[in-house]
């Protein structure tokens, strides 16, 4: 039915099946949209946030998707600026995932603020000293970059490509993509960093506060570093999932290996830096404001030392070791486990830097603040996931996302018939 739109030389499932899945995921999306509208029209009382939890699940989701979307900027940097050419076979998907992550982040921000209609004040009345201003600026600019990177992909749709203007446009955009990618990398570096700075500049919150260099607290660099490490891992993970679902090999293993290796070394170095940071914070920064390191991990039902072990050892050291060793990467199981752990590690780190910051009591006469999100919060957080799945489904079906798909498919068929 829609065969004219499907890229040449590849096979896709029947249109009916496709629509059925769109409807199923769409239902989840709709649930999220209802929750979103409730939040917009009735206000943030629809959430379980409160004056102690001004930042909660959404900000965590925001930080997490941005970190995971970091695959786009880092792969782009490697592909266009540094010139790792093999990565051209995965860059499209990385861009798509990045686009989904960043558009989701912007959407979540638009729901999260109390006065969405005044959201533009952040640009027009900007306070340049605020980390959040930097985040908003770079986030929206980088989203523009991702859009620019995504547009040529759309233009490569079989029917659209037939239009000479669009064909030329796509061609030209590819031509100067290196400029866009470089700008994107620059923007991304800063906003990933400012996200790291967001909690770390809160000198009234000893759990979050970090010292640093000039205006940048250490977590500024840690966040950028971890996004560069975990973002590609997320790209690998999503590619693997897509391959499993489509039951096809979409990207050659050598591409995956290269990305995994780079990500592995990034993760390893990040983990070392994170350990040093934690050590310094636990022994110097926090005690200076009267806190014992263990004060942050005891007397509460959730945040125990386990969370630190999970983040640094289980989701840092272990996946690093797997990814930097050739044997580790070679084993499909270990590889996927490692990228999964790395992704989880980024999420846990963002969780800790947002929610545990809120939970720790600072005044001596207060106790731990606990919070559980309302269904509206959960629904609006799942909303981007559903939206991402739908966008991936449509893009995979109609756009030549995976340049190697056709040849891999032919090879596979050949191997079967030979």
């Amino acid at each position: 039915m829609d065969s004219a739109l499907i890229p040449e030389g590849v096979k896709r499932c029947s249109f009916g099946k496709f629509i059925l899945w769109i409807i199923i995921v769409g239902a989840v999306l709709l649930w999220g949209v209802v929750a979103m509208l409730l939040c917009w029209f009735k206000g943030l009382n629809q959430t379980n946030m409160n004056d102690a939890y001004g930042f909660a699940m959404w900000i965590w989701a925001d930080l997490a998707v941005i970190a995971l979307g970091g695959g786009a900027f880092f792969t782009g940097l490697l592909r266009y600026v540094i010139g790792k050419d093999e990565l051209k076979n995965i860059i499209n998907y990385a861009v798509l995932i990045g686009f989904i992550c960043y558009s989701s982040a912007l959407l979540i921000l638009a729901i999260d603020i109390g006065q969405p209609l005044r959201g533009w004040f952040i640009f027009w009345h900007a306070n340049v000293h605020s980390m959040l201003t930097e985040v908003a600026f770079c986030l929206s600019c980088y989203f523009a970059v991702l859009t620019i990177e995504y547009i040529p992909l759309i233009l490569e749709n079989r029917q659209i490509d037939k239009v000479p203007f669009f064909h030329n446009l796509s061609h030209n955009m590819h031509g100067i993509m290196v400029i866009f990618a470089a700008t994107g990398a620059f923007l991304s570096f800063f906003h990933q960093g400012s996200l790291g700075g967001t909690p770390a500049v809160l000198y009234g919150r000893p759990f979050a506060f970090r010292e640093g260099v000039l205006i940048w607290p250490w977590t500024f660099f840690l966040f950028t570093w971890s996004a560069a490490a975990c973002g590609p891992c997320f790209t690998i993970l999503v590619t693997w999932i897509t391959e499993k679902i489509t039951r096809k090999k979409l990207v050659r293993q050598n591409v995956i290996m290269l990305l995994a290796k780079i990500a592995g070394w990034m993760l390893a170095t990040y983990t070392v830096a994170k350990i040093i940071d934690t050590w310094y914070w636990a022994t110097v920064t926090a005690p200076a404001s009267g806190f014992n390191f263990m004060d942050f991990y005891s007397n509460n039902p959730l945040y125990g030392p386990w969370i630190l072990v999970l983040e640094i050892v289980v989701c840092g050291v272990i996946p690093s070791l797997i990814l930097i060793t050739k044997t580790g990467r070679k084993s499909s199981f270990l590889l996927i486990s490692a990228v999964l752990l790395a992704v989880l590690g980024a999420c846990v780190n963002r969780w800790v830097m947002v929610l545990q910051v809120m939970a720790v009591p600072v005044l001596t006469f207060e106790s731990w603040f606990m919070y559980f999100p309302s269904w509206q919060e959960i629904a609006t957080t799942i909303l981007p996931v559903a939206y991402g799945i739908i966008l991936i489904m449509i893009s995979y079906r109609y756009l030549p996302i995976f340049p190697q798909e056709q040849e891999l498919e032919e090879e596979k068929n050949a191997s079967i018939f030979v």
Partner: protein
């Protein structure tokens, strides 16, 4: 077709480009943000000319001066009146939220007549004329049947012109049943009556005392005139000492120099134990005791019976060991306390539990007052003064017709002033019993003015039952309170910010002062001053009743009554008898002996010796079934009197007192074993069982459960109703054997899992 599509796309792009270059999107973006700043559903307060009006607060017996800020015709803020003798600029949170009472949804906006069943909440609006004629018809009917004495009136005060108008009306109408709501004032008045032989209030010169010994009085929890007591407490810092004797770490205890936890109900024993030490160590004021007191040594009464003197009594029976046993306070503490009290230059002992809204046992008041006498701190700087009511209401004597005279000869329904309790003036705590049992006579009609007995009187169930038995209940409440909700007719009074009224004598003040409430704003609703309504009712009767009310209206009455003080009051807001001095010891006492009486001879003539009879008032209930004791506590953020807390006040209540609609009761972790903080529980007493939550608090004596007063309203608005539990539902009155007043201080209870 393709052209169409492309052209359309082109049109759209052109349109977008043009729109971007027009003011439309930018102006709309700007305006939409301005719209969020000016949402039509967010009120914009009107600006205008600022003015200030002074008045006096009558929400509690404190009588503070207020300055109300107005914008045009709106009252927008209440502040304390600077230089007002009671509060000098300070003001409590209830007074501060007065505007919420003025403009609040709980106001009764017009006279209402009950349509459905009692308390069902169905009302019919009626005109003032109809309402008044209905009252008059009913009263005239009763009077004609010779039942005038079955009409009663419950009022929050018996002072000032409004109370006098009510009393005067009942007198000419022919009923002795004017009843004042109970408070520690009753016990103190009786103490003054028996020990000083005078009809007076107790005034405390706390400003000049340097050692205040409080037997459970919530000096900074709303006792007396609250703001004044706060000021005193602050002034005392560094200059004097405050010792708080109380089973629970109240705010007063926490702010005191020493908190002495005591088994509840044994305060009188402690007072006598202190007396023991003072006498034994000869620390008492010889001049006063030897020359101006009676009953210190053994004595013989008119009938020749010999009595133990105060000295012998306490030396024999209240040695520190005995008292330590009774009170749970160590003997060394008792001795040390007695010494520091007696050695202070101006020691002062006070009592009246919490905010003093319950009278308490007379023996306790007399024992504590005896301590003041021992140190000679009576009618002296820094001591207790007997303060007579300001004497400015001098209306001609009423002329009674036969009906009235006959009605007035009937016994009071509450038994006050009768055979059993000859020295008591009002015993509202006995009223429910009297009505329910019908022993004396059935009550046929009841007026309630400035009081909310259905809520404030212990054993709410019995009170409600009594009200149900009275066929005609008229409430003059400005608010839809519990009593109004259970009335047949509501004749809403102006609230204090809308009316003229004299407010005599703030509680516990040592100087006679009359405060002056005046209207700050015009009446907001179709309400009438209760004084006006009484005058109108009286006038409708005609004859002697009308003759007793020669004034056109209340304002005229007040102006006439105040005479040359009117102008000064209007200007200053208060009238103070600055020359007033308590009478010296020589002339102070009008007892049979002419001296301060440790033992009242008048009383002894009728009763057995009080102190020999001293027994702690036992709480109701069986210890086996109810292992704990429930005590109430008062604190400033909850009004426990007839005024329901406005939203602002409720907002300040901590979440360890009220959580959602659940009340939290304080329990020591030792007694609350098995409960975690915030757990639900069933609290039961012999009077009933309620659902509560547990607040584990180390500041309360093990074995006790403490519950705040002032919650559990069922009427009023949604900001107050159904929050928590009314303590009075869980306790019943315990009659003091000497005075008949309610001496209950707690009740046996148990706490079980919910």
């Amino acid at each position: 077709m393709k052209v169409c599509r492309r052209s359309f796309l082109s049109l759209v792009i052109g349109g977008a480009a043009g729109t971007t270059l027009s003011p439309l999107p930018w102006k709309l973006m700007d305006d939409s943000s301005i719209w969020t700043q000016m949402w039509p559903w967010t009120p914009v307060p009107e600006d205008g000319e600022v003015s200030y009006v002074n008045t006096v607060c009558s929400l509690c017996p404190g009588g503070c001066g207020l300055t109300v800020r107005k914008i045009n015709e709106r009252a927008i803020k209440i502040e304390g009146m600077k230089a007002y003798p009671v509060n000098d600029g300070g003001v409590c949170l209830l007074g501060l939220s007065g505007l919420q009472l003025l403009y609040g949804p709980t106001r009764v906006k017009t006279p209402l007549k009950r349509v459905g069943a009692r308390g069902e909440g169905r009302w019919e609006k009626i005109s003032w004329e109809d309402a008044i004629s209905e009252v008059v018809k009913k009263l005239a009917d009763l009077r004609a049947k010779g039942l005038s004495h079955t009409v009663g009136c419950i009022s929050d005060s018996d002072r000032g012109t409004v109370a006098h108008l009510l009393g005067r009306f009942l007198t000419v109408y022919g009923s002795p049943n004017f009843i004042r709501t109970p408070s520690m004032q009753d016990s103190y008045e009786q103490t003054m009556h028996l020990m000083h032989g005078v009809q007076a209030s107790a005034g405390f010169d706390v400003e000049n005392a340097d050692f205040i010994l409080s037997f459970g009085s919530g000096l900074i929890d709303g006792w007396g005139s609250p703001v004044r007591m706060f000021k005193v407490n602050s002034a005392l810092k560094g200059k004097g000492k405050l010792v708080q004797v109380e089973p629970r770490l109240s705010n007063t205890a926490a702010k005191s120099d020493k908190w002495i936890p005591i088994k509840p109900g044994t305060e009188a024993a402690l007072a006598l134990g202190l007396a023991h030490v003072i006498i034994k160590e000869s620390l008492y004021n010889r001049d006063f005791v030897n020359n101006y007191s009676f009953g210190f040594n053994d004595w013989t009464d008119d009938r020749g019976r010999s009595h133990k003197g105060f000295k012998k009594l306490v030396l024999d029976e209240y040695g520190p060991d005995d008292v330590a046993e009774i009170t749970g306070i160590s003997d060394s503490t008792i001795i040390a306390l007695a010494r520091s009290f007696a050695r202070a230059s101006k020691p002062l002992a006070v009592c009246g539990r919490g905010q003093g809204n319950t009278p308490g046992g007379l023996s306790e008041f007399m024992a504590v007052h005896a301590l003041n006498a021992l140190v000679g701190n009576i009618n002296k700087k820094g001591g207790v003064w007997a303060v007579p009511d300001p004497d400015y209401i001098r209306w001609p004597e009423v002329e009674m017709d036969i009906n009235a005279a006959k009605g007035m000869q009937a016994n009071r329904i509450d038994g006050a002033g009768g055979k059993t309790y000859p020295d008591s003036r009002y015993l509202l705590n006995r009223f429910p019993e009297a009505v329910n049992s019908g022993k004396e006579y059935p009550m046929k009609a009841l007026f309630v003015v400035g009081a909310n007995p259905v809520y404030t009187i212990p054993d709410s169930k019995a009170v409600k039952e009594a009200f149900d038995k009275i066929p005609f209940v008229v409430s003059f409440s400005s608010y839809m309170d519990e009593t109004a909700a259970n009335a047949d007719l509501i004749l809403p009074n102006h609230v204090f910010l809308e009316r003229y009224e004299d407010v005599p004598m703030p509680a516990g003040l040592q100087k006679p002062i009359v405060g002056f409430s005046k209207p700050v704003v015009k009446p907001q609703f179709n309400t009438r001053h209760v004084g006006d309504v009484i005058i109108q009712i009286a006038k409708s009767f005609g004859g002697v009743i009308a003759d007793a009310f020669p004034w056109d209206n209340y304002e005229a009455c007040l102006q006439k009554t105040l005479g040359n003080k009117w102008n000064a009051l209007n200007k200053e807001g208060f009238w103070l008898d600055s020359n007033f001095m308590a009478k010296g010891w020589k002339r102070a006492f009008s007892t049979p002996s002419g001296k301060f009486e440790f033992f009242s001879r008048a009383f002894a003539a009728k009763n057995e010796n009080l102190f020999q009879q001293f027994r702690p008032v036992e709480p109701e209930g069986d210890e086996g079934r109810f292992p704990l004791i429930l005590i109430p506590y008062d604190y400033m953020r909850l009004a426990s009197g007839c005024i329901g807390d406005p939203p602002f006040a409720i907002k300040t209540v901590e979440d360890t007192v009220l959580k959602g609609d659940d009340i939290l009761v304080e329990v020591n972790p030792k007694s609350g074993r098995g409960f975690r903080e915030g757990d639900q529980a069933i609290l039961s007493t012999p009077k009933g069982a309620v659902k509560v939550r547990v607040h584990l608090f180390d500041g309360i004596m093990p074995g006790l459960v403490a519950m705040p007063r002032g919650l559990g309203h069922t009427a009023y608005d949604e900001y107050l109703a159904d929050k928590g539990i009314n303590f009075n539902e869980l306790i019943g009155p315990v009659e003091d054997p000497a005075s008949g007043l309610d001496a209950a201080w707690g009740i046996r209870a148990k706490l079980t899992r919910a």
